[in-house]
């Protein structure tokens, strides 16, 4: 029997597969498909202090092996989440994580503080990397300085463990990862989507209502893998890898590159039970390779 558990230091996971924020709703949407307790954990959709309308449609466009979205973090806000959704998740024997958003540093801290007063949350994921909510796709994760400031401020506001989600839309992602680490984040997760666009030839208009959006799916996997590899060598905190993971083989590549755990995102849309298939695939692969603990795979890349 393979030991699939993973110890992030601040959090023990029953397996290294997490469902990624923005692709897993508030978790409840997936209850009809499987027992959520089979997951290592899941990260619910990003929350602001108040409900948020999101961007104007169209919000989705498919590109080769990829999906560009410009949802714009539409959501119910942290109060409604804690009142209506969290009680339905709190008893689950899996790591329930919440993705934290903010217009500015102060709002991130206030959302984190609010969530910190509630039971049933294993960790917060700090969303400083959404390309869909600020002019020109900008986000705090695009500079080490604003990353440091935001992480620091949120750390002061809550005692919950913090996973800082990084943007690939930067020149040097390792500099941003180190800034998050210096500010005290317990882990980093990467990558968020790549700023992207698509154009309709006939109308000569952008295919997305918001002009630009974030690219996800298999198309971005090689870039994500490279960034996970770079960041894992640059920081000591655990790295949670994501970006186009659709199979156990994809997940294993990220782990070999240095990821302690992985997040599965866009695959959840295509196959609602994608995470389960990946967990089973990791189990099978480890058995076939005589590996007793899946955590042995992390950073096992041979250079």
């Amino acid at each position: 029997m393979v030991d699939l558990s993973v110890d992030l230091g601040f959090l023990k996971l029953k397996n290294p597969v997490l469902a990624a924020s923005g692709t897993f709703g508030y978790g409840l949407e997936f209850k009809p498909f499987y027992d959520l307790e089979l997951l290592g954990g899941f990260v619910v959709k990003g929350l602001y202090l108040k409900p948020r309308e999101g961007n104007r449609p169209p919000r989705l466009v498919e590109t080769p092996s990829g999906l560009i979205n410009s949802i714009g973090l539409q959501g119910i806000g942290v109060e409604a989440f804690c009142r209506e959704v969290l009680p339905q998740l709190a008893g689950l024997k899996t790591a329930v994580m919440v993705n934290v958003c903010g217009e500015e540093e102060d709002e991130y801290a206030r959302v984190a503080e609010y969530l910190g007063r509630h039971q049933g949350i294993a960790a917060l994921e700090l969303n400083i990397s959404c390309p869909n909510v600020r002019e020109g796709g900008r986000c705090p994760a695009q500079s080490p300085e604003s990353t440091y400031r935001t992480v620091k401020k949120v750390k002061q506001a809550t005692s919950l463990p913090l996973i800082t989600k990084l943007s690939p839309n930067v020149t040097d992602i390792t500099a941003v990862a180190r800034a998050a680490e210096e500010a005290g984040t317990e882990a980093v997760s990467l990558i968020n989507t790549l700023l992207a666009m698509a154009i309709d030839l006939e109308t000569r208009k952008p295919k997305l209502g918001n002009v630009m959006g974030g690219l996800s799916g298999p198309a971005i996997k090689p870039i994500a893998l490279r960034m996970v590899f770079q960041v894992a060598r640059a920081v000591k905190v655990p790295v949670i890898g994501m970006g186009g993971i659709f199979s156990a083989a994809d997940a294993l590549e990220f782990m070999m590159a240095g990821a302690a755990a992985v997040q599965v995102g866009t695959a959840n849309f295509v196959d609602p039970d994608a995470c389960l298939k990946i967990i089973r695939g990791l189990q099978d692969w480890a058995e076939n390779h005589g590996i007793e603990r899946i955590s042995e795979v992390t950073g096992s890349l041979q250079l």
Binding site: G22, T23, F24, G25, E29, F30, P32, F33, K45, E53, G54, R56, P57, P58, R59, L60, V61, E62, P64, S65, G66, L67, N69, I71, Q74, T203, K205, G209, G217, P218, A219, F246, T266, N268, F269, V270, D271, P272, D273
Partner: protein
């Protein structure tokens, strides 16, 4: 809502770029209602990546039917599936049309434009079973866009036809045919599915005539079950306009709810 990865394609009929598939999926068939849809995997590769939302055309015994038009790469791949193949389908999804008991004994208009006829045949059958008297309006650009007309008539429905080019039926838009018919009789309810300009015009007519109505909207979807917030449209509920999910809050919305703003979708 189930994932059926072994829905066997038992029959394929086609007319130019319109296709009628019969799939064996007892679990989905027994849960389905008119106005609901399936999310269908059209490729085993990542190209295209997403499932395609396809309206249910019928559910009977262990079988479900879908009627679709090839409109892009996804539906083109779907149209190439062969009898005997197994399809990966997710459904039934969404809220269907409401079938109100008070419609019993009353005439009801079901207005379909082109491929929009897909959910209306299913609806009309259920309406008839509930004691209502559905009249099907079926419009298209040309006669070739109305492949189901004989079948609908053979099933005993009153079917009024229109074509933009006047090749068969009444010449002009189906909305004009509805207007003309409204001068002769007044239905208790109107259901519609089709191109947005058609439905928007029908909404205008319904408001003028003080008719209750429901519309089935189409949208690009990421997941089909409420997880991605990708398919939203502006909907008016409780005096507020909000982006609601077509997949989960719809795809059927009432006359009062739909905020027509297709300019957004240029």
């Amino acid at each position: 809502m189930v994932i059926d990865r072994q829905a066997r394609l038992v029959a394929v009929e086609s007319w130019d770029d319109y296709f009628l598939f019969t799939l064996e999926s007892p679990q989905i068939a027994c849960q389905a209602r008119p106005g609901q849809f399936l999310m269908i995997r059209v490729s085993e590769t990542s190209q295209p990546l997403l499932r395609r939302p396809i309206s249910l055309h019928q559910a009977q015994g262990p079988h479900v039917q879908i009627f679709f038009q090839v409109a892009g790469e996804g539906t083109r791949l779907l149209s190439m599936k062969k009898t005997g193949q197994q399809l990966d389908i997710l459904g039934p999804l969404g809220n269907g049309f409401t079938i109100r008991p008070e419609l019993r004994g009353n005439e009801v208009f079901c207005v379909g434009g082109g491929r929009g006829i897909a959910p209306l045949y299913y609806l009309a059958r259920e309406l008839r079973a509930s004691g209502a008297r559905p009249i099907i309006f079926y419009g298209g650009r040309s006669g070739t866009d109305l492949p189901l007309k004989d079948r609908l008539r053979a099933d005993g429905f009153e079917v009024l036809i229109s074509t933009d080019d006047g090749s068969i039926g009444s010449p002009g838009f189906v909305t004009s045919l509805v207007e003309a018919e409204l001068k002769k009789r007044r239905p208790a309810y109107l259901y519609a599915c089709g191109p947005v300009p058609m439905m928007e015009k029908l909404a205008e007519i319904c408001r003028l005539e003080n008719l209750k109505a429901e519309f089935s909207l189409e949208s690009m979807m990421g997941c089909g079950f409420g997880a991605c917030w990708g398919c939203v449209k502006k909907i008016r509920r409780n005096d507020q306009e909000k982006y609601l999910k077509v997949c989960q809050d719809g795809p059927v919305f009432s006359l009062e709810e739909v905020v027509w703003q297709e300019s957004e979708h240029g």
